[in-house]
C-alpha cells in the first residue's frame, strides 16, 4: 500500500510539506492530468516493473525488515526511495540541473536491543547523476544511497545507505532474495485509495525476503541476517482531499503467512470504505481483504516528546472470517521520523512484535506499522 510518509494538513507554509503533499495529492501546476492515472487492467511485467515509471507522478520503493546479529542484537530497519514527478516532460531546458523528478530517501534503524532509534533523510533533484531512478534497469539512488536489482532474473536486491543521527554514524548494506513470489495488491491491477477514477496506485510487494548483510552503528559492525518486506507502488493523484492520513500494517507470521492492512482515515474521523488489505498464504496465494473483512482497534497511545503528537501505540487486529486475533506492540515506543531534509513531514514508522491466536493455535511474528497524519510538520525548512 501507499507507504509514503505523508501528513495531510491544511495548507502549510513550508515547501517540504508541499513536496510531501504532492506525493499523493497530485503534482504541481495542475499538470497531474498529464501524468498517467493508475487504472484497472494494468498488466505487470517483471523485471520491467521494478524500474521507474516516469509516466506516473509518484512512485516509491520501500523496504522494512528485521535483522539479527550473531551476538543476538536485534534491529528493525526502513529504507525508502521516493520519486516525485514535478512535470510530465522537460522541454526547452539547457541546464542539466533542470529536473522533472525529485528523489527523496528515508533511512531508519531501530536498535531493538539497545532501545534506540536512528533516522536520516535526504532529497535531491534527479539530475546530473546525483540521484535518479532508471527506466532501463532497476537502479534507484540518491547520492550515496542505492537500490539495485541484479543477479539471476533480477532477483537479488542490493541496498546501501548511510547516515548520521544523534551524532552517530550508521549504515546498512544488505542483499535480499525473495523467499516467496511477489504479490500484487488490490483488484484488477489497482489498489484503490479513495472514490474516483485514478484515485489508486499500482502496488506490489515481496512480502518475505531473506536478508543478509551488515549493519554499522557508530564504530560497531554487525553481520546480520533476517527477513524483509518490499513494496513498490506508483500512481498519480491517488488520494482524496477528505483523507487525513493512514495506518498501515505489514505483518510476517512465523507460520509463513503475511498480512497487509491499511486504514485510510478521513478528516471527518471515520475510515474510508476503500481501506483494504491482503492476506498471503504460505504458498503465495493471496486473499484481497475489504474493510469489512478486518478490524483494527488501538489499545493505547504514545505521545512524542518532540512533535507532541499522540500516536496509537498498541493494537488489536482481527480477521473475523479467518478467526485470526493479533496483538501488535511496538518493539520500542519512539520510532518517530521528522524528515526535515526531504518531505518535511513527521510520521511514525516502526518495528512491531506480533502475538495472537487462530482458534487454538498461537501465532507469533514481526511486522512494521506506519502511522501518518498525527503530527503537524515541525521546523520544516528551506
Amino acid at each position: 500500500m501507499s507507504r509514503a510518509a505523508l501528513a495531510p494538513q491544511p495548507i502549510q507554509t513550508t515547501v517540504l510539506v508541499c513536496i510531501g503533499l504532492f506525493l499523493l495529492w497530485g503534482s504541481p501546476q495542475g499538470q497531474a492530468a498529464s501524468f498517467r492515472p493508475a487504472l484497472p487492467g494494468y498488466q505487470y511485467h517483471f523485471p520491467r516493473d521494478h524500474t521507474a515509471h516516469p509516466e506516473y507522478a509518484t512512485e516509491w520503493w520501500y523496504y522494512t525488515g528485521h535483522l539479527q546479529a550473531a551476538n543476538g542484537k536485534r534491529f528493525g530497519y526502513e529504507l525508502t526511495f521516493f520519486r516525485i514527478g514535478l512535470m510530465p516532460s522537460l522541454a526547452g531546458r539547457t541546464s542539466k540541473w533542470a529536473t522533472r523528478d525529485i528523489m527523496l530517501g528515508h533511512l531508519a534503524l531501530t536498535d531493538e536491543t539497545g532501545n534506540q532509534f536512528y533516522f536520516v533523510d535526504r532529497a535531491s533533484r534527479a539530475a546530473l547523476g546525483l540521484a535518479g531512478a532508471e527506466t532501463a534497469m532497476p537502479h534507484i539512488w540518491i547520492n550515496g544511497w542505492s537500490l539495485r536489482f541484479g543477479g539471476h532474473n533480477s532477483s537479488a536486491q542490493t541496498l546501501r545507505a548511510t547516515g548520521k543521527s544523534h551524532d552517530i554514524e550508521f549504515a546498512i548494506n544488505l542483499v535480499q532474495h525473495p523467499a516467496k513470489p511477489l504479490v500484487i495488491h488490490g483488484e484488477k491491477g489497482v489498489s484503490q485509495k479513495s472514490a474516483g477514477v485514478g484515485r489508486a496506485s499500482h502496488y506490489y510487494s515481496f512480502t518475505r525476503l531473506t536478508t543478509q548483510g551488515t549493519v554499522r552503528l557508530g564504530d560497531q559492525h554487525f553481520a546480520v541476517t533476517g527477513q524483509s518486506w518490499f513494496d513498490h507502488e506508483f500512481g498519480s493523484n491517488q488520494l482524496g482531499k477528505d483523507q487525513a492520513g493512514w495506518d498501515w500494517f505489514g505483518v510476517q507470521l512465523d507460520d509463513g503467512r503475511e498480512i497487509m492492512l491499511y486504514h485510510m482515515r478521513l478528516r471527518s474521523g471515520g475510515t474510508d470504505p476503500y481501506s483494504s488489505g491482503t492476506l498471503v498464504e504460505r504458498n503465495g496465494k493471496t486473499h484481497h481483504l475489504r474493510l469489512q473483512d478486518f478490524r483494527i482497534e488501538p489499545l493505547n497511545t504514545w505521545r512524542s516528546p518532540v512533535s507532541h503528537a499522540s500516536y496509537p501505540a498498541h493494537w488489536r487486529v482481527t480477521l473475523p472470517r479467518e478467526g485470526i486475533n493479533l496483538d501488535i506492540m511496538p518493539t520500542i515506543a519512539n520510532q518517530e521520523l521528522a524528515t526535515q531534509h526531504s518531505t518535511g513531514v513527521t510520521y511514525w514508522e516502526g518495528s512491531v512484535r506480533v502475538t495472537g491466536t487462530q482458534g487454538s493455535r498461537s501465532l507469533h511474528g514481526m511486522g512494521y506499522v506506519e502511522l501518518t497524519g498525527y503530527a503537524g510538520a515541525f521546523n520544516s525548512t528551506f
Binding site: V15, P28, K96, I102, F382
Partner: protein, 882 residues
C-alpha cells in the same frame, strides 16, 4: 568671621563660573558659531567614518547572508567552475566534508528597477544545511488570487514547485519587495549581456539574511534557472562546503588537487578580510580628507576662545588684580573650551550621522565603480565613534584654546587692561613660528621623497598636513612683512584710510594672521584639489583623444560597467565585424582576476589600431621600442600592462607575469607599460589569441568599429538599432559619447572629494566671519577714537573694507603657494600611491583667479556684519572702558 580658605576658594570658583556663564549667555551668537565650527568639522569626519564602516559592515553582512553556514568555499575563476567538480564531490563522498552546495551568482542590472540586483542560483535540496531561505514561506497576498491569469493564481503551496520548475521564476527578498513595490506575480526584468531576461516573482523570502544580501537587492533563483538565464549552463560560480573544522586545512589541500587552476579554496571570512584590505587605502584617503575639516574646525575653536579672552580682557585684569591665580584663570578658559568642544562634538556626532546617509551613497557608488559591487543601505556606527568623537572633539577644543588661555592667564593685571599686548605677543612669536613653519615644510618635503612615500600611504597625508601647517605657521611673519608693504601701497592708493588699514593688519597680527591662515588653508585646499582634478581631467582628455579612436563602440546593455557574462550575441558580433561600412574592428573580451588581492582586469583584444597608428596609445616604457613592441603584441608574443598595474603591483616590462588560467598557471612576458586612466582595476592587455588559447573563452564583450570615412556614424548606429534593437539591448556609443561617458565616470569618482572640499570651505567661512568680528571688536576703542577725532562712518567703513580686501589678498597669495605645493603632493605622491596614475601637471590660471574672487568675497562678505556693527557702536561708551 574667621578666614576660611576653602570658602574663598569655592566662592572664587562660583564667581568664575558665574562670569563665564554670563559672558557666553550674552554672546550666544559667538557660542553658537564656535560650537557650529566644532560640529561641522567633526560631522564631516563622523559621516565619513560611518560611511566607511557601513560599507564594510554591509559587505560583511551580505557575505554572511550568502555564505550561510559554509566554512569553506571553492570559488571559480573568471569562467567559473565546471559543475562536474560538484557532482564528483557528491558522488565520491569524503567523510570530512559534511555538506556541499552549488552556487551560481552574479550582479545584474534591472532596467525596470533602475538598479543592480544580486542574483543567486541555488539547489534548494543542497541548501538545507547552509541557508534557511524558506521559499514559499510567505503566502501570496489575497489580491493575487483575484488577478485572473497571472502566475500568482497558483496555490500557495506550489510557490516552491514553481520556483523549482519554472524557467523564469524567482524569489525576492522582503526588502526588495517593499522597496520596489513588488509582490507575487510581479515581473522582473534583468539585463544579461545584451539580452533582456524576464522573470516573475513566485515567492517573497521571509528570512532576514536575504534582506542583508547586497543590501536587500537580492533575488534567489533555482540553479537551473540561473544557469540558463546567465547562459552559463555547465558552470558554477562557487561551491559552498561544511567541513570538519579540525580537518579543514587537510581538506583544503586535498580539494585543490582536483580543481581548475584558477579556482580558489578559502574560508568565506577570508573574502571579507580581502575586501577590507582592498578598501583600506581608499577609506584611509577619505578619512584623511575628512580630517581637513577638523583641521579647519580647530582654527575656529582657537579663534572663539581667543575672542572670548579679548572680550573679557578687562574682566580678566580685574580678576587678576583681585588675586585670582593664573592657573585658575587658565582653567576657566579651558573649561569653557571643553564645554564648547563637548557640545559641538555631540551636535557634530548627530549631524555627522545624518550626513552619513548621503556620504554612504556616494562612498558605496564610488567603491562599486572602483573596486567591488557593494550595496550599503543601512548605517552602522562604529562603537568607538560614540565615545571617540566627543572625547576627540573636547580634547581638540582644549588644545586649540591652550595658546589663548595661556596668554590670558599670564598677562600682568595692568597689561590685561590694555588690548595691544596680545598683538605684541604674537609679533614676538612670529619669528619662532616661522621657523617652525620652515621645519614643517622641510619635513613635508622629506616625506614626499619616494624612499619614504613609497613605503607608507600615511607619508603623503602627513606631508599634506605638514604643508598646510607650515604655511599656517608662516602666515604671521608673512603678514607682518606684507602689511608693511601694504601700508605704504594702500596709503598711496587710498590715502589715510589705506595707511591705517595696513597698519591695523600688522598691529592686530594675532587676529589678522589667524583669519588669513584660516582662509589660506581653505583656499590652499581649493587650489590644490582644483589643480589636481584639473590636471587629471586634462591628462584624461589627452588620453581619451589618443586611445578612444574608433568611430562606434558596440557593447551589451550595461556597457563594460557590469559583469558582461555571455557578452554580445554571436550574430551581432558576426554582423558588425563584417559589415561593409566598417574598415576594421577591434573586439574585446574582459575577465576579472586578482593579483595579491588587487583586482585586475584582463582585456583580451586585438588592437589593430595600435599597429596601423590609428590608436595612439602612449607608452611609459617598452621592451623593444614602441614600434617593435606594437608588432610583438600583434603577433601575440607579449602582453601589455597599464601604468597603474605597474605602480600598484610592481611589474615592469621585460618581466614575466604568471596568471592562473583555466589551463593552469601560465607565464606571460610584459612587453610594455602604457598610460591608462580608466577608473577601474589594474588593466592588462592580452592578445585575444592568447586569451582564447588558455581561457577557452570565445565570448566578445565589446566591438570598436572603425568606419569608412564617408560613412556617417549615426546612420550606422540607426541601422544597427533597427536590425537588433527589438531583440537585444545593445549600447551603441559613437566616439563623442564614449568620451563623454569617460568624464561622467570620472566626475562620479571624485564626487566625494568635491563634497568634502565644499564642507571645508563652509567651515572656513564661518571661521572668517567669527574672526573678523573679533578683529573689529578688539579695535573698537581705536575706531571710537577715530570717530571722536572726526572720522566719518564712511571713512571707517572704507578703512575696514580695505583691510578686509588686504586680508583676502594675503590669504590668497599664501594660499596659492600652499595650494600649489598641495597639488604637487596630491598629483605626484598621494595619487600615484593610491591610483598608480601619472597625472600631467596642468595649471589653468582660472583656478587661481576663481580662488581670488572667492577669497575676496569671503573676506568682504563675512566682514559686512562686523563692519556695520563697528560703525554703529556708541563712541562714548566704548571710549569709557579705558
Amino acid at each position: 568671621m574667621k578666614f576660611n580658605y576653602a570658602t574663598l576658594k569655592s566662592s572664587v570658583r562660583y564667581l568664575l563660573a558665574f562670569l563665564s556663564l554670563r559672558y557666553w549667555l550674552r554672546h550666544r551668537g559667538a557660542f553658537f558659531l564656535a560650537t557650529l565650527g566644532v560640529a561641522l568639522g567633526l560631522a564631516v569626519f563622523v559621516s565619513v567614518q560611518v560611511a566607511n564602516h557601513s560599507v564594510l559592515a554591509s559587505f560583511a553582512a551580505s557575505l554572511d547572508a550568502i555564505s550561510g553556514k559554509a566554512n569553506l568555499q571553492i570559488i571559480g575563476g573568471a569562467s567559473g567552475l565546471p559543475e562536474e567538480v560538484y557532482t564528483r564531490l557528491k558522488l565520491t563522498p569524503d567523510a570530512r566534508i559534511k555538506a556541499a552546495a552549488p552556487v551560481v551568482s552574479r550582479t545584474l542590472y534591472s532596467p525596470t528597477l533602475q538598479t543592480s540586483i544580486l542574483i543567486m542560483g541555488v539547489d534548494p535540496f543542497a541548501e538545507i544545511d547552509f541557508r534557511d531561505w524558506e521559499i514559499g514561506g510567505e503566502s501570496p497576498p489575497p489580491q493575487a488570487s483575484t488577478r485572473g491569469t497571472t502566475p500568482s493564481d497558483q496555490n500557495a503551496q506550489s510557490a516552491f514547485l514553481q520556483f523549482l520548475t519554472g524557467p523564469h521564476t524567482t524569489a525576492i527578498s522582503q526588502a526588495m519587495a517593499n522597496r520596489y513595490h513588488l509582490s507575487i506575480g510581479s515581473p522582473l526584468q534583468l539585463y544579461v549581456g545584451a539580452e533582456r531576461k524576464n522573470f516573475y516573482v513566485v515567492a517573497i523570502l521571509p528570512n532576514e539574511s536575504s534582506n542583508e544580501a547586497f543590501g536587500g537587492d537580492f533575488t534567489l533563483l533555482d540553479i537551473a534557472t540561473a544557469q540558463e538565464a546567465l547562459a552559463q549552463s555547465g558552470r558554477l560560480s562557487q561551491i559552498d562546503l561544511i567541513v570538519d573544522e579540525v580537518q579543514l586545512d587537510a581538506v583544503k589541500a586535498a580539494l585543490r588537487k582536483n580543481l581548475p587552476a584558477d579556482a580558489i579554496v578559502q574560508r568565506p571570512a577570508q573574502r571579507g578580510a580581502d575586501v577590507s584590505a582592498m578598501l583600506a587605502a581608499f577609506q584611509l584617503n577619505l578619512s584623511a580628507l575628512s580630517c581637513i575639516a577638523i583641521f579647519v574646525g580647530a582654527f575656529l575653536i582657537y579663534n572663539s576662545i581667543a575672542i572670548a579672552v579679548v572680550r573679557r580682557r578687562a574682566e580678566v585684569g580685574i580678576l587678576r588684580s583681585f588675586g585670582t591665580g593664573q592657573s585658575q584663570l587658565m582653567r576657566l578658559f579651558l573649561v569653557e573650551a571643553a564645554v564648547i568642544g563637548l557640545v559641538g562634538s555631540i551636535v557634530g556626532m548627530l549631524l555627522g550621522i545624518a550626513l552619513a546617509h548621503f556620504t554612504l551613497q556616494a562612498v558605496s557608488t564610488t567603491i562599486s565603480a572602483l573596486y567591488i559591487a557593494v550595496k550599503a543601505k543601512s548605517l552602522s556606527v562604529p562603537l568607538w565613534l560614540w565615545w571617540g568623537a566627543p572625547l576627540g572633539g573636547t580634547v581638540l577644543s582644549i588644545l586649540s584654546a591652550l595658546p589663548a588661555a595661556h596668554e590670558a592667564a599670564n598677562t600682568p593685571p595692568r597689561a590685561a587692561m590694555l588690548r595691544v599686548t596680545l598683538h605684541q605677543a604674537t609679533e614676538r612669536f612670529a619669528y619662532p613660528m616661522a621657523m617652525a613653519g620652515v621645519v614643517s615644510l622641510s619635513l613635508a618635503f622629506v616625506l614626499c621623497q619616494p624612499f619614504i612615500s613609497g613605503r607608507t600611504v600615511f607619508a603623503g597625508f602627513a606631508a599634506a598636513f605638514l604643508t598646510l601647517s607650515g604655511f599656517a605657521l608662516l602666515t604671521p611673519v608673512l603678514t607682518l612683512w606684507g602689511s608693511r608693504v601694504a601700508q605704504v601701497g594702500a596709503g598711496a592708493t587710498f590715502g589715510i584710510e589705506g595707511t591705517l588699514a595696513g597698519s591695523y593688519l600688522r598691529r592686530a597680527l594675532n587676529r589678522s594672521s589667524l583669519v588669513i591662515a584660516a582662509l589660506m588653508v581653505s583656499l590652499a585646499m581649493l587650489i590644490g584639489l582644483s589643480v589636481m582634478v584639473g590636471s587629471f581631467r586634462a591628462t584624461v582628455a589627452a588620453w581619451v583623444g589618443g586611445s578612444i579612436s574608433a568611430d562606434l563602440y558596440v557593447a551589451p546593455a550595461r556597457g563594460f560597467a557590469e559583469d558582461p557574462g555571455p557578452g554580445l550575441p554571436r550574430e551581432v558580433v558576426q554582423y558588425v565585424t563584417t559589415m561593409p561600412s566598417a574598415r576594421f574592428c577591434d573586439t574585446l573580451r574582459g575577465a576579472d582576476a586578482e593579483i595579491n588581492h588587487q583586482p585586475i582586469y584582463i582585456a583580451a583584444n586585438v588592437l589593430p589600431g595600435l599597429v596601423n597608428g590609428e590608436r595612439k596609445t602612449r607608452f611609459l616604457e617598452t621592451l623593444y621600442g614602441d614600434a617593435l613592441t606594437k608588432r610583438a603584441y600583434a603577433q601575440s608574443k607579449i602582453i601589455l600592462v597599464s601604468e597603474r598595474f605597474k605602480n600598484l603591483l610592481g611589474y615592469r616590462s621585460g618581466q614575466t607575469l604568471t596568471l592562473t588560467t583555466p589551463s593552469g598557471p601560465i607565464a606571460f612576458l610584459i612587453g610594455g607599460v602604457f598610460y591608462d586612466y580608466t577608473p577601474n582595476e589594474c588593466l592588462l592587455y592580452m592578445p585575444q589569441t592568447l586569451y582564447r588559447k588558455y581561457w577557452h573563452d570565445y565570448g566578445i564583450d565589446g566591438i570598436a568599429v572603425y568606419l569608412k570615412h564617408d560613412v556617417s556614424t549615426d546612420e550606422v548606429k540607426r541601422e544597427l538599432e533597427q536590425r537588433f534593437g527589438a531583440k537585444y539591448q545593445l549600447t551603441l556609443l559613437p566616439n563623442r559619447e564614449i568620451r563623454a561617458s569617460v568624464f561622467k565616470t570620472f566626475d562620479q569618482t571624485f564626487a566625494v572629494t568635491y563634497a568634502l572640499q565644499l564642507i571645508a570651505i563652509i567651515v572656513a567661512a564661518i571661521g572668517i566671519f567669527d574672526t573678523l568680528i573679533a578683529l573689529l571688536l578688539e579695535r573698537s576703542r581705536e575706531l571710537a577714537t577715530l570717530r571722536a577725532l572726526g572720522a566719518s562712518p564712511w571713512q571707517i567703513n572704507k578703512m575696514t573694507y580695505i583691510e578686509f580686501v588686504l586680508i583676502g589678498i594675503f590669504a590668497w597669495t599664501i594660499g596659492v603657494a600652499a595650494g600649489l605645493c598641495l597639488a604637487w603632493e596630491l598629483i605626484y605622491v598621494i595619487n600615484r600611491q593610491f591610483f598608480g596614475w601619472t597625472i600631467q601637471w596642468t595649471l589653468q590660471p582660472d583656478v587661481l583667479f576663481r580662488a581670488l574672487v572667492l577669497a575676496l568675497l569671503a573676506a568682504i562678505g563675512a566682514g559686512v556684519f562686523p563692519a556695520r556693527n563697528a560703525t554703529r557702536r556708541n563712541i562714548a561708551a566704548t571710549l569709557q572702558v579705558e
